[in-house]
Symmetry: C2
Subunit: 226 residues, 2 copies
């Protein structure tokens, strides 16, 4: 399957590596490919520059945002929360009619740690993105756990934990749910309803961040026990 | 143990019934006991008036807020979120030096369903309560699941799910954690740190509310799988 991944940070890289391993045709999008490959600094989370990662993952093809969005039959938004809305709005043409998996979180690091949310309570980043690209089927998913677990649910407790989808298009949610199960091994995918319900999983982040602080490991997830 | 419970709604009643069953000496506090007993209307959640419940639970003693707060060696805040801060502030004298388990959530039903939060992101009800009664050890706990599960963790999946505590006083958190384990059967109680971390479990509520909507049952809880 042709898949476009928007964003060259750790989340985008981990999804790209997994999807290439599964045999998908992946294009990773960035604003300026030459500039991204030329970077030598680590990011704010201490991750190696993209070029260094790329040497170990030569099958990962880098392109402009527009080319990656145009390439994908399915597109994954792995952009920094702050960047999402303007970048995706500019890609409205390339994304029209497609399913977009939105993993982003509205994290605001400007007021210290742990970060607060720049959209919450009576709005969410998921619904702001959907409003910016009304011709695209936005499905909020996988924003509630570490990226390594996102792409390999069975790596934790043999998959005995939960993930969520929200979106206004029933068909897109079904396709994304099937993709999460088939590609990433998720067994428990809970449909929370329309895209405005992104407020739920996004507002889980403040608890996730504090659990990370308490448990001192990022490799955890929640199971909805019922 | 002498326990004061503030609030005569379903949460207060369920805790009272459980603690009386366990042999504790419980006093339930309300603003005006005569008025509470005289009520004949159901509450907004469709629960029977306190008097009707009281007939089936004759051992549950009703008193003023001040008497219930003074009575308890341990006090449980089961008040409506909106009412908490002024009511507790007025009880600062009776509550001084005591442990207060705060179960409340800052739910705002004024803008339709599901409710939003009237305190979140850069504040929380837990920390507002602590600021209002600085002489009391406030421990946020049990606000992330239905009251029947709060008092009987083993009623769901034999207890294989998680609860959280936040509080500024380490001794109070230890005592409350021991109480949750002994009285209510909790096995996995995760310490999230100081009371300002109440933002985490309180901001879980928007996800809890949407899970309730999707699952169509209130009898669920989350397990932190790690």
């Amino acid at each position: 399957m042709k898949i476009g991944i928007l964003g060259t940070g750790m989340v985008g890289r981990i999804h790209a590596a997994k999807l290439i391993e599964l045999g998908h045709d992946v294009l990773i999008g960035t604003q300026d490919p030459a500039k991204t490959l030329a970077r030598t600094d680590k990011d704010m989370m201490g991750n190696v520059p993209f070029g260094a990662w790329h040497k170990d993952n030569p099958k990962a093809k880098l392109a402009t945002m527009a080319d990656a969005a145009a390439h994908g039959e399915l597109v994954i938004n792995a952009l920094n929360g702050h960047a999402c809305v303007p970048v995706l709005k500019a890609l409205a043409g390339e994304l029209r009619g497609k399913d977009l998996i939105d993993i982003s979180n509205p994290l605001d690091f400007s007021k210290g740690m742990p970060p607060t949310l720049f959209a919450s309570n009576d709005t969410s980043l998921g619904e702001q993105i959907q409003a910016a690209i009304p011709g695209t089927h936005v499905v909020k998913a996988l924003n509630t756990m570490n990226a390594f677990i996102q792409v390999d649910a069975k790596s934790l407790a043999n998959g005995a934990h939960s993930s969520f989808v929200c979106g206004d298009d029933a068909g897109a949610k079904e396709r994304v749910t099937a993709f999460l199960k088939t590609a990433y091994g998720w067994e428990d995918v809970i449909d929370l309803g329309g895209i405005a319900n992104s407020r739920g999983p996004e507002m889980f982040l403040p608890l996730w961040l504090r659990l990370w602080g308490s448990l001192q490991i990022p490799s955890f997830s929640i199971k909805v026990v019922r």
